[in-house]
């Protein structure tokens, strides 16, 4: 079982999470402007790298927040986990606006 470090809740068992696929895939602003091949590429094709893979996870049984994970697809080692930009409540380290989850400071 993987031990995944939720940016908010800390290390938790893999069973608490659900996998959200490769990170950094954005829906095209105007799908009608795309060719079938481009649309298929957006819809179905993923990079599937050997090595570092950036992916999305949701802490489904915990705080229910989405976050990013950098995982090695060979060793399964998780290199880091991070909040997504614009995630609700800002960054756990308080860098994006002073919410101090886990830091114990209040104001």
């Amino acid at each position: 079982m993987l031990l995944i470090e939720c940016p908010w809740c800390g290390p938790r068992a893999e069973t608490e999470f659900s996998y959200g696929g490769e990170a950094g895939i954005f829906r095209p602003a105007d799908p009608h402007a795309l060719s079938d091949a481009e649309w298929a590429d957006y819809l179905f094709y993923r990079s599937n790298p050997r090595g570092t893979h950036r992916e999305l996870w949701n802490h489904a049984q915990g705080c229910r927040r989405w976050f990013g994970v950098e995982r090695d697809t060979v060793s399964y080692r998780i290199k880091r986990t991070y909040c997504l930009s614009g995630a609700s409540g800002g960054q756990p380290d308080g860098s994006a606006g002073g919410l101090e989850a886990g830091s114990g400071k209040r104001r």
Binding site: L3, A13, E16, C63, A87, S88, G97, E100
Partner: protein, 193 residues
């Protein structure tokens, strides 16, 4: 607590007449946070996975989400007051009393019984009174809170409550051994002291 300790048994009790309110607002919006806290009469926990007691219990559910547990009579009135106080802010107040049940599990072996179906490290060193966590217990998703070293509060979906009670009774019964401590890597727990 050693494994050879005689099974003391746990007490499972449904905490009756409880009401629950789900509160969502961005705590970076201090005005909104303070407006809510004025109505509640107590501070909302901003540290992840902690709860505060007082007139109500306020559980941290997420960086912009809390569960308020209070008396059933008080809940709907409190939800109205909160909604009124927060009407000018980007916030959500939902009375979720109907969907949740609070169980109290107590006994010297309570943490070991819970550990049979919970991936968290429930040792008081890692999960001390005042901490809470949303996690899995058996096959149910629960909010687990350490009230004192031998008492846990569990908030669970009403439709899972009967199952969870049976699961707890089964886990507490003889012939279902405790897992040997230290043999598996347990998920840790993060909260500020």
């Amino acid at each position: 607590m050693s494994e050879s300790a005689p099974p003391a048994g746990i007490a499972i009790r449904v905490r009756s007449a409880r009401g629950f309110i789900n509160l969502r607002l961005n705590p970076r919006n201090r005005q909104a946070l303070e407006a809510a806290e004025r109505v509640l009469g107590q501070q909302a926990p901003l540290s992840a996975n902690t709860f505060t007691g007082g007139e109500h219990n306020l559980y941290w559910l997420g960086p912009d989400e809390w569960l308020i547990a209070t008396g059933a009579q008080r809940a709907s009135e409190l939800a109205r007051e909160l909604a009124e106080a927060l009407k000018d802010f980007h916030a959500a107040v939902n009375d979720v009393s109907g969907g949740n049940v609070e169980l109290l599990v107590s006994g010297a072996n309570a943490s070991m019984v819970l550990a049979k179906g919970c991936p968290l490290d429930l040792h008081p060193r890692a999960f001390a009174p005042g901490q809470c966590a949303q996690t899995g217990l058996g096959r149910a998703a629960v909010l687990l809170a350490a009230v004192d070293p031998s008492t846990y509060a569990i908030v669970v979906r009403r439709s899972f409550a009967r199952y969870l009670r049976r699961w707890l009774e089964n886990a507490d019964s003889a012939g279902v051994p405790f897992r040997a401590a230290g043999k598996r890597q347990q998920a840790g727990y993060r909260s500020s002291p």
